[in-house]
């Protein structure tokens, strides 16, 4: 259910080098780097590659191959023909940024009994791992989104979803997670995992989705 959401569509690296380099009283060698702006499409961890278009008033170029890049001299000049950057060039240009990319967000799902906002045994068993993840990542941006199935009416389901999310948030707060790090909200019955007609009890729809960033 969650897997497809984690796949990034495009890895993109951009280097904009300031024009001042050439003026610096540089040692005779090596020669100063050329002033150039580079846009590169980097492969994703799973091997897929997205597609990006780099455009300005001079024209545009599409990048759709891993490590494909264009140079852009200035806004009025069309981006260069795409070329492939070697691994060493990728490191040299983008290494400082790539080294500090944060890990992807992680999603957990807590399930609830019918018409109940109580944390059941299965949910309680999962919460320590969620707490540990928040602590390890020192996350200050955790979303707890409550959901319900289609039994009951939409208004009370909105409140039930909120109440479920609050119960999970209370557990985390009681163990030291700062309130300002928790975003508690409800989608009621408007985001069903299993599409059902009205009035249908469905375990997979009664849930709180917890996203730790």
């Amino acid at each position: 259910m969650k897997a497809s959401w984690w796949i990034p569509v495009a890895g993109l690296g951009i280097v904009l080098l300031a024009g001042g380099c050439a003026k610096r009283p540089a040692p005779p060698q090596p020669p100063p780097p050329l002033k150039q702006n580079i846009f590169a499409l980097l492969p994703e961890p799973d091997g897929k590659t997205g597609r990006i278009v780099v455009s300005n008033s001079g024209g545009s170029q599409e990048l759709n191959q891993p490590n494909q890049a264009v140079r852009v001299e200035r806004e009025a000049v069309q981006p260069s023909a795409p070329f492939i950057l070697g691994q060493d060039a990728v490191r040299r240009l983008f290494g400082a940024a790539l080294d500090i990319l944060p890990p992807p967000e992680i999603q957990f799902v807590l399930y609830f009994d019918e018409a109940s906002d109580d944390l059941n045994a299965a949910s309680l068993a999962q919460l320590p791992a969620i707490l540990r993840t928040i602590q390890e990542r020192r996350s200050t941006a955790v979303t707890l989104m409550g959901h319900t199935d289609t039994t009951g009416d939409p208004q009370s389901n909105y409140r039930l979803g909120m109440s479920r999310a609050q119960k999970a948030a209370d557990y985390l707060r009681a163990r030291g997670v700062d309130t300002s790090s928790l975003i508690v909200d409800s989608h009621g019955e408007s985001e069903l995992v299993v599409k059902t007609p009205r009035g249908r009890a469905e375990r997979l729809n009664r849930r709180v989705e917890v996203i730790v960033r």
Partner: protein, 149 residues
């Protein structure tokens, strides 16, 4: 009479103030910080510390020894190298309402970017602007005839 006017004034104040307050919701957070990083918010200048919440319109700046990794609320990940400046111009992530928008402006330096859910749901809503050109995302499945060039 006076009381009525006062009430009207208060009502109007909230009427107009409320949307502004809503826009102040967090759009992301700083995850890893090296060297000197500053977040400029209006006239404020905040030290860029791990965990700092980001708001729309924030400008993230790194010094010559600085770099920073941040994550937006849709899962978009951005890393900035040294001597870099990035403004988060627009962030809208409301899947239930079908509303999406992500506009960031890189004015100098080095950036690495990995898409999140906004790009998954609505790639055409994502734009990265730079002084020399704009980057747009394309969906994976159709051919697009590029204008110009």
């Amino acid at each position: 009479m006076v009381a009525t006017r006062l009430l009207t004034a208060i009502a109007l104040f909230f009427w107009f103030a409320l949307p502004a307050v809503c826009q102040q919701s967090i759009v992301g957070s700083l995850k890893a910080v090296r060297g000197t990083v500053v977040v400029r918010r209006g006239t404020e200048s905040l030290p860029g510390q791990q965990g700092l919440h980001l708001m729309a319109q924030d400008i993230v700046q790194t010094s010559a020894d600085g770099s920073v990794g941040l994550i937006l609320q849709d899962g978009t990940r951005i890393a900035l190298g040294p001597s870099t400046e990035l403004k988060i111009d627009q962030f809208v992530y409301a899947p239930v309402d079908g509303k999406f928008g992500l506009l960031v402006r890189l004015t100098r330096g080095v950036m690495a970017y990995i898409s999140g859910k906004i790009a998954q749901y609505s790639p055409e809503s994502v734009r990265v602007e730079t002084p020399v050109g704009i980057v747009g995302l394309r969906g994976t499945d159709f051919a697009i005839s590029l204008g110009g060039g």
